[in-house]
């Protein structure tokens, strides 16, 4: 950690976001020196060339070995990696923090491509639970169905499933866009905080239950609305955004987005009142 003696550097570091707050009972602020080049190094990222392509057969590798191999190939500059025979293995392609074309020729198990920041992923198969959990940026396209907790807690990027998804899609979503070509199960958008979810088919019960913010667009039937989820009128900007997004996602061609149902948070739950915790105690 740099010892910054001048307040000028400290201010500069702060304005550039080069400081962290570590909460260990007592708030401590740590500052990085903005003049040191290594502070701009994003650990675990590589400069890759998209035209440099390689196939990787993971049939006889476990998930750790396969992920290490992907990392090794990226470090050698490969920008397009085709994974053969994933055969439903868990946690494949997680933690990729740079641009990359990653193609899976088959299906993934649980936690596939979780915690990624930047890659473009195409999965020519199905994914299990918690696909792309905590994704920060990038694009993930799944050609078949997905399991439950699809796109849990994503912060950004586009997550597209051309088939149907399980329950709790976009649970705790904090940004980005989830698009589903088929149906979705119960508790879609459960406790979502930001971002958008687009479901072209039907959804199950408790849609948008306890959502804080964000927007859901539903094309088919709705099993039931969750607590504090309410319908909102579609605006022209909603329609324009949906048309553009579906076109880019190459899904739902000629889909009449104007007939979709828009669902937002009613913001009537207790967590939206303006009371301080001490005031709440008195109110109870």
């Amino acid at each position: 950690m740099a010892n910054l003696k001048t307040s000028e550097k400290k201010t500069k570091a702060q304005s550039m976001g080069l400081h962290t707050e570590v909460l260990t009972g007592k708030t401590q602020q740590k500052f990085f020196n903005p003049d040191e080049a290594e502070n701009f190094f994003y650990w675990g990222t590589y400069d890759v060339d998209f035209n440099k392509r390689i196939d990787l057969d993971v049939k006889d590798l476990d998930c750790k070995e396969a992920n290490r191999k992907i990392d090794e190939l990226m470090s050698q500059g490969y920008g397009t990696i085709v994974i053969k025979n994933p055969q439903g293995k868990h946690s494949l392609g997680v933690g990729i923090l740079n641009k990359l074309n990653l193609i899976f020729e088959g299906s993934l198990g649980y936690f596939g491509v979780g915690s990624i920041d930047g890659p473009t992923v195409r999965i020519n198969g199905r994914v299990g639970w918690s696909c792309a959990e905590n994704m920060m940026a990038g694009k993930v396209v799944i050609e078949k169905n997905a399991g439950s907790c699809f796109g849990a807690a994503i912060r950004g990027g586009d997550l597209i499933c051309k088939g149907s998804v399980g329950a709790r899609t976009g649970i705790d979503q904090k940004g980005g866009t989830i698009i589903v070509g088929g149906d979705a199960g119960a508790f879609t958008g459960f406790m979502m905080q930001r971002g958008r979810i687009v479901i072209l088919g039907d959804v199950g019960i408790n849609l948008g239950d306890s959502m804080y913010d964000g927007t859901l667009y539903i094309g088919g039937k709705i099993g039931s609305f969750g607590s504090d989820a309410v319908e909102s009128p579609m605006t022209k900007s909603d329609i324009d955004w949906l048309k553009r997004k579906l076109k880019v996602a190459e899904i739902g061609e000629n889909y009449d987005v104007s007939k979709m149902t828009k669902v937002v948070s009613g913001k009537k739950l207790w967590n939206y009142d303006a009371l301080e915790p001490t005031e709440k105690k008195g109110a109870i």
Partner: protein, 314 residues
């Protein structure tokens, strides 16, 4: 956690023991306290096959109390004399392990409830399964260990369900292991992944109606619940649909009969299940890797939705 797996071949038989072993072994990271198989083998359908436990596996990790092996010999003698008293003719008797017996019996009366009650009135004796096709084999350890111990690799049949258990609600012992027999119905078995929160309420009600519980494992409730529904004339599918509201908690379970296999998923869809369906095979498991042990090539699978019940025939 726990993992469940099942498969049904339509219109043909296969080495279901070997196939289910592969599926359950792929799920061993979900729990290997115990593993159980319910295998529906090819039989002539004339005689009953009864799997009986006359003691517990007291090996490493077991929560059971060790007993003198001579007690098992005594219990075996009592079981056999009880069988002959009830008019059941023993065609074949195998003692697979000191505490595990397998009988092929000729029994023509239609009173399995009375029959089972008499056998189980012997101290330390539990019928693991009774049926003309079904055999329930369960023991401590992972799928491979149990399969090798009981020589299940060569069992040929049409369908099977199994369970890899991580003990959370009750002890590490055979009596709490899955599958559970749908006592006293011939050829009915159940495996479950999840937790049932109204176990004691339901247990009290069912015990008052004369149903029997052998363990304190919440999953046993599903087998007893379905058996009680069927005793009152409901079909298996009707009983399964009722269970979605009658049972509280999170669950995915499989139930199998002589010629069918069914699955039910709770209304919260909190427990995983992946399904593969084709014209000649249905395979399902808690994770896709279980199905991949059978079908390594690229296939189409899907997650059933919340509150879904499905039943397939052989």
């Amino acid at each position: 956690m726990c993992g469940i797996a099942g498969l049904i071949h339509r219109g043909k038989s296969s080495k279901v023991g070997h196939e289910l072993q592969g599926m359950l072994q792929a799920l061993k990271h979900r729990g290997e306290d115990s593993t159980g198989y319910a295998l529906y083998g090819d039989t002539e359908g004339k005689n009953f096959i009864m799997r009986v436990k006359i003691g517990e596996n007291v090996g490493e990790g077991s929560s059971s109390v060790a007993e003198d092996i001579s007690v098992y010999d005594e219990r075996k003698k009592v079981v056999e004399s009880c069988l002959s008293e009830m008019g059941a003719k023993i065609i074949k008797a195998d003692r697979v392990l000191p505490y595990s017996l397998r009988y092929e019996i000729e029994y023509n009366k239609d009173d399995l409830l009375n029959f089972s009650q008499k056998i189980e009135s012997i101290e330390g004796v539990e019928i693991l399964s009774m049926g003309k096709s079904l055999e329930v084999i369960k023991d401590l350890g992972n799928a491979k260990m149990v399969c090798d111990r009981y020589n299940l690799d060569k069992v040929v049949g049409t369908h099977a369900i199994g369970h890899a258990r991580m003990a959370t609600e009750s002890g590490v012992d055979i009596k709490s292991a899955h599958p559970f027999w749908g006592y006293p119905f011939s050829d009915v078995s159940v495996v479950h992944n999840g937790q049932l929160t109204n176990y004691w309420n339901n247990r009290r009600i069912l015990e008052n109606k004369g149903m029997r519980f052998m363990s304190e494992c919440d999953s046993e409730l599903i087998a007893v619940y379905l058996a009680e529904k069927m005793r009152n004339g409901a079909s298996l599918e009707e009983g399964m649909k009722d269970s979605l509201s009658g049972l509280d908690g999170v669950f995915t379970y499989f139930v199998a009969t002589k010629d069918s296999l069914g699955m039910a998923k709770d209304t919260m869809a909190a427990k995983p299940l992946v399904l593969y369906e084709s014209d000649d095979l249905v395979a399902m498991g808690s994770e896709e890797i279980a199905i991949r042990s059978l079908l390594p090539q690229e296939i189409d699978t899907y997650d059933p939705f919340d509150g879904e019940v499905k039943v397939w025939q052989i």
